[in-house]
Amino acid sequence: MISLFQSHAGEFFTGFGWTIASSVIALIGSLILGTAFALLEVIPNKLANIIGRIYIEVVRNIPLLVITMFFYVVIANIIKISGFAAGTFGLTLYTSAFIAETVRAGINAVPKGQLEGAMSNGLSWWQAMRYIVLPQAFKLVIPPLGNQFINLIKNSSVLAFVAGLDLMYQANQISQTTFDTFGPFIIVGIFYLILTMPMSYYMRYLENRLEKNGGRA
C-alpha cells in the first residue's frame, strides 16, 4: 500500500486539493445562500416565509446525487461548465438548505426581546437583524454549522459521479488502472479522516463548552 501511495502520490494529492477546494467553495456559497433563505423565513412577510419554507423542504428531501446529476446532465449541457463546477454547484445548493435550517434555529434561539429592544431604540428591522440578532445567532450555531461542514466534506465525494477530480474520483481511477480495489480506498479514507476527524473532535469540544456555560459561547 505504501508503494501504491508513492507511485500515485500526485493523483492522491490532486484529489485532496480538489476535495478541499470544492468543500470550501461550497461552504462559502451555502453560508451566503443558507443565511439568505433563513432570513426569508423570519422576515415579517408571509409570502417570503412560504417561499423560504418551500425551498428548504424541497431541497432537503431530494438526494444530493439527484441535484448534482441535474447540474451535470442538464445545466452543463446548456452552459458549458466542468464536472467540478457542476458538482460544487449541486453541493452548494443542497447544503444551503441545511444551513438555512440551522441558522433559522439560531435566530429563533435569540430571545425576542433583543429584536424588540433594538427596534424600539430606533433601528429598522434589517438593522436590528444585521447588528443585533444575527451576530448572536451565529455564535449559537457554530457547533452545528461545523457539523454541516464535516457533512459537506464527506458529501463532496459525489463529485466522483460527475468527473469532479476529487479524492473519490481519483481512488476510482487508480483502482481501475492498477486493478487494486483495496489500497486506493484505504488511502483515500485516511485522507478524508485527516480532514474530518480533528474537526469533529473540535466541534464536540465546542458543544460541551457551550453546554457547560449554559448556552453562552
Partner: protein, 218 residues
Amino acid sequence: MSGFFSAFSWVNMRFLMMGLGVTIEVAVVSIILSFIIGSVLGVIRYVKIPYFSQIVGFIIDLIRNLPLLLIIFFTYFALPKIGIHFGVVTSTIFALTIFESAMLAEIIRSGILAVPKGQLEGALSNGLNFKQALWHIILPQAYKTMIPPIVSQFVSLIKDTSLATIIMLPEVTYRAQIVYAQEPSAIISMFLALAVIYFILNFIISKIGDLLDRRMAA
C-alpha cells in the same frame, strides 16, 4: 417539448416504480438493522466499559467521519479481495447499515445523556439494578426525546440509497438514468419524476415523525 410529456409514459413510470420498490426495500432493511445495532452501540458507549467502550467509540467516530460513498465502494470492490463476496443488494444494505448504525449510535448516546441524572439515581435507589434502570427508566425517556433526530437520520438514509447507483443497484435513480440514456428528450422529465418521488417519500416520513413526536410528548 413533446418528449417532456411522452416521457411520463406508463412503461417508464412502471420502470421507475419498480426501482422505488428496490429503494424502499433496501432502506427499510437498513433502517431496522441500523436502529438495532445503533442502539446497542450507543448504550455500549454510554455505559463506559473500560477499554471496550473506548475502542467501540473510536471505531464509531472513524465510520461517521468517512463518506458513505467510500464505504459502499469498499464493501462492493474491496471486501471480495479478502474473501467476502456480497451481491449488489446485500452490499448496499451492509454499507448503509454500517454507516447509519454509527450515526444513530451517536444520536442515541447523546439522547441518553440528556436524561436527567436523577432518573438513574432514583431508579437505582429504589432497588432496580443498572440493567433494569436502563431498560425501564432511562431508554424510554431517551427515545422520546430522540424521535426528531432519528427520523431525520432515516430521511437521509433514504436519500443515501441513491448513492448505490455507483454499484448499479437497480433503484429509482439508476433506472431514471437508464431511461434518459435511451431517450435524451426525457432528461428533464426524469429529473422531475425523481425529485417528486423522493420528495413525497421523505415528506411522508418526516410528517409521520412529527406526529410520533407530538403524540409521545403529550
